[in-house]
Each structure stands twice: as C-alpha cells, then as structure tokens.
Symmetry: C2
Subunit: 351 residues, 2 copies
C-alpha cells in the first residue's frame, strides 16, 4: 500500500465518522479533572443550557447544579432543567448541570467508617471501604468548583443533589460546610448510616449553633416502599422520620420534605429532583400577560425573588427578548418601550 | 500551498474535530425522512437504549415510543426511559424513543379546520392552518414506522405520546385507528378544540362500536392551573372532564386519568409521562430476591404480564445476566442452574 492510499483511506474514514458525529444529539460533554485530594482522575459530565452558545445575546452566567451519581441521573436531569427553563413560562433559570461520575461510591459518599452484613447473604460484608466524604467534598469545593468556574460561565449560585448515600452526603455537607452550596437536595437519604451518626450530628449542630442557617435550602424526598414492605431497609425510613422531626422543630431552614407514595428507593429521584427544583426556585416564574399591563412588576418580582434566594438574580437577556417579541406582536407599545429601556440598562451594548 | 500541505491540514482538522466529538455525551441521533404524504422532509430524533449496541448479548428488539413535540420533550424523556429501565429493579423494558420534530404543528396535530381569536389580542386570528391530523398519522403509520423498523430493531409494541394539541392528536388516533398503537398517552389534551369535536367523536365511536377496544391503554394527565385561575383556557378543563366521564362510564379500556395539583399546562408532561409509563408497564417489575427462592416465578410473571399487554414480552438477555450474577455472588446454586437453562432456552447460542 503506498502512502497516498493510506492517507486517502484515513481521510475517507475521518469524514465518514465526522458525518455520523454531526448527526448525533448531544446532551453534554465529558471532562476529566485530576484530583490531588483523591489522587485520581475524576470524570464529570457537563450540560450547558440552550442559550449558552447563543451569539445574539451577551455571554450570560448560569447557576450550577452538582449532581451526584452522574451516570444514573445526568440524562433526565439535564433534560429536566432545559424543559422547565423554557420561556416564557420558565419555572427555573437555565442552569449548568455537572454530573459527577462515581469511582469508589461508598468511600466518597459516607461520612464515617462502618460495615454491614449483607441482608441477602450474611456471610458477605458490605461497605468495608467507607468514610471518605470529607475528602470528597474537599475535591468538589477546592478542585471541581474552580475547574467549572474557570472553564464555564458559572453564576455564584450552586446546588448539591444526591440520592441514597448521595443524600446522606448532601446532608452531611450542609451540617459541616453550610457555606459551600446555596441549596441541598437529598433523595431518600441513607440516614440510617452507622447507627444514625448523621442524626447525632444534626443534634450536635443545633446544640452548637442554636439554629439552622436561615438562608439555605434543604429538600428531602422519601419513597414509601420500605415502609410498606417492612424489608431490610426500613431503618432508612425511621432515620428519615427522625431527621424530619428535628428539622421541623427548628424551623429556620428553608426546608421541604416530600413523601412519595408508590415510589421505590430506586425511582424516587425522578419526581424528587423535579419537586426540589420547583421548591428551591419558587417565585421565579413570572406572567408575561401581566407584564403587558404592569411592566414594572418584573423588576419588583426579581427583587423579591433575589431576597428569598439570598443571591442576585436578574431577568435574562433571552427572556427580555421573548417579552419584547410578545409586546411587539400584540401591539403593546408602552410596555415594549419599557422593556427596551430595561434591556439597555441590564445588558448595555458594547460600543 | 502544495497538495501535501492541504491534505495534512485537512487531516489535522479532522482529527481535532473527531477528538472533540468523542468527548460529547450523546442521547440520540437525528434522522431525516422524506414524507410523500406531507410532501416535506421530517426530522426525527432517535434514542437507543443502553444495551442496544452491547455485543456480549444477542441483538434484541425493543418497544418503540413515538413522542410528539420532540424538540421539547426528547431529552428528559429519553433519560427517563433509561433511568427506570435499569436492572435489577426495572419498572419498564428498555425502549427506543422516536421524537418527532414539528414543522407545522397546528396543521399536523388538529383533527378539523377551525379558528380562534387570540385571547391576548382579539384582532389576531389563531390556527388558520389546521385540520391535518389524518395526513400526519398517515405519515407516521405508513412512512415513519416502516423507516424505524427497517433501520432499528423494533419490537411489535408501540406507544404514542402527546401533549396539548399532541394529546388531542393521540386521542383522535385512538378513536380513528385504535390498531395503530398499543398504548396512547395524552398530557393535558386540547379536547376543547373546535367546539369539542373530539367529545362528539368519542360518543360516535361508542354508539357505533358499543365499547372501547379492551386491549388498548390510554393515559390522560391533567394540570390544575386553568381550573384555579379560570383563565382563557378553562374550556380545556371542562372538555377533559367530559371525556373522563364518558370513558369511565364505559370501562373497557385500560384507562388512567391523573389530575396533577400544582402543575401547569406547560410542565404537566414531566410527571405525566412518568406516571403513564408506570401505568402502561405495571406488572413488569420483578423481585430478584424472590427469584432466589422461587426461580420459576419469573416465567409465570412474564406470562401474566404479556397477557395484560396483549403482546409477548420475555425477560431480556441482559436481565438474565444480572440475575445469574446475583445468584452466583450469593451462592444460590440451584437458582443459578435454573436461570442458565432458561437463558439457553430463550437465547440459544448460534453454533
């Protein structure tokens, strides 16, 4: 085979593969971050919102959602954020989703070293490698977050989302480092872990700090299957109930607990993650028809919302464009002028 | 520039682009089907389940879900099917999802020609181009379905999923061509369309056929916002209630209606599509721990399930592999032997 033939074959192959690749629907990109803390490479899956690469608007920043068990939850979760952030009736702002893929799941997500006999076969010991959650959150805070901020346009608002051991992790981060995230989501959290060590830590936190941090959000979902079937996991239900009792008695946290009838431990994250986003971003949605009559209400509503969130949120440029189009097509001239001015104020054109 | 340089530049560019493409997370592929019926190109987005390209198992066939308004629903929906089809606790079989992108949405999804004054500005006439749903379903049945069957391993089980006008479309297809799909999902369907023409058609269907087709499934979700706010869309709520009354009085259809408190017309598809899949595939889930004690129950359960579905379903080879791994790791030797035999029976090795 001569060189020309080799090169032409390679070219043909490249274009063939390229042609196929261009027809793929992508939902995110893989990034690898080397963690000095964990001494290993960590793969994260990053989803960017629809307007991220829109060149007709100024480059915008977006809240970031850190999603544990990325390999299981990333696809529907990324789709969910796009789905409920559609204008004009967006329930949440557009978000960047960072799915963290597991390497040693039990090691990373559990707060203490503990073991358990397998309920299926007591000869088998489970969770021998556990107790590394402080290390793992150090990786997220000191390595992953700076990586995301450096490579993407991240707004100063972040949410931590976990399920099962991941929910246990989220609650332990809230107790140990409440300043790390603005909101925490724990789907059917494994609060039974190590003789309910997290319940003890919750009590300790309250004894020391008197109350929970008021500006933070915590959402907990709970599946019903263990309760009904009284199977080996029912200590999970008991621990979640105990935690709920303590938090509700000290009502300073923005806290919501949802019990999902008919859901199992494995599925509850799908409805739980949706309810969590609706809870955290409650008050974000505005009514475009009302804005025709009362354009000033948009700024008032965003001000109230920012106060509730303890973080500044502004109407996005893309939403203002949708509002402008609506006012124009329905001939609401006064409101149109109002929003042209607002857009110029919030997103001045670079001269 | 000499030819060598040109070729080398091209190669370098190809590999650079390829390198980037390989790091993307894909959720599906775009296909374009030219429709003679509609005289236009139609873009469809196809999601293949996780095991589709698994070379360690025999090529399997999968149920196909035809999803209307593909551009809005495809990402979370495709992610959802993967999420709840995870073994060992799968609630549904793995599915192929075909998202159909809109061209002329109103034309394609409405059953009759009708118009309406804009509720925002009565000088504007809406829906001038409507009434093409018979053509559109002809495209799906006679052109799209054969395309999917030719290019993908499609099982003889299909579901039609729509929202709003798409829900109106799904119900009209059920009435006019119940044989086209095994199950129909209508999220907040626009049954108010054209003086409730679909309600009249439902009554006509019952008068002519005496009862609904018993082997078919219909799931209807309903959002609460219109009811509460009594806004311009509240004729939607009334029409859905009428339809519900008629179907429930003639209870031969596998029918479920879910009213979602706190959901809006724009968001109800997210929980609705999940509940719909749980409803349609109810009975699919099996308990791997029970199978250790009673391995024969797997075949019994699939037989019962297939009867309910009016279509044959078998345990997938990948699920049997998960079961075998479970039996082996927990030292359930008798059950392991049972499932080795079952696997050889259902998926004989080609010699």
């Amino acid at each position: 085979m001569n060189n020309w033939f080799k090169i032409l074959s390679l070219l043909a192959f490249s274009f063939f593969t390229l042609g196929k690749a261009q027809k793929k629907l992508t939902i995110g990109e893989k990034q690898t971050v080397f963690s000095k803390v964990l001494n290993e490479n960590r793969e994260v899956w990053v989803h960017l919102p629809k307007t991220y690469d829109d060149t007709t608007i100024n480059p915008a920043k977006y809240p970031v959602i850190y999603l544990l068990d990325g390999e299981n939850n990333f696809e529907y979760y990324a789709g969910l954020t796009d789905f409920i952030a559609r204008t004009p009736y967006a329930d949440i702002p557009e978000c960047i989703v960072v799915g963290i893929k597991n390497t040693e799941r039990t090691r990373d997500l559990t707060p203490t070293k503990s073991q358990k006999k397998s309920p299926v076969n007591p000869a088998v010991t489970l969770f021998a490698d556990s107790g590394g959650s402080e290390n793992f959150v150090k990786f997220i805070q000191e390595e992953l977050k700076p990586f995301i901020s450096k490579n993407y346009r991240a707004q100063e608002y972040s949410i931590l989302v976990g399920h099962s051991f991941g929910g246990l992790f989220a609650i332990n981060v809230l107790l140990a480092h409440p300043e790390y995230f603005n909101a925490y989501v724990a789907n059917d959290p494994s609060l039974w872990w190590d003789n309910e060590v997290t319940i003890s830590r919750t009590k300790d936190y309250l004894e020391k700090n008197k109350k929970f941090p008021a500006a933070k959000f915590l959402y907990v979902s709970q599946a019903d299957n263990e309760e009904k079937q009284k199977n080996w996991n029912s200590d999970m239900t008991q621990a979640i109930e105990k935690f709920k009792g303590i938090v509700e008695k000290n009502g300073t946290l923005n806290y919501k607990h949802s019990f999902f009838e008919g859901e199992t431990h494995g599925t509850v994250s799908y409805p739980g993650n949706y309810e969590a986003l609706k809870f955290i971003f409650k008050g974000f949605r505005t009514d475009i028809k009302q804005l025709a009559k009362n354009p000033g209400s948009l700024e008032t509503e965003y001000k109230t919302f920012s106060g509730k969130m303890n973080s500044e949120f502004n109407p996005s440029e893309s939403y203002l464009n949708v509002i402008l189009k609506f006012m124009k097509s329905n001939d609401f001239k006064e409101s149109e002028t109002y929003f042209i001015n607002l857009k110029n104020k919030l997103y001045p054109k670079v001269k």
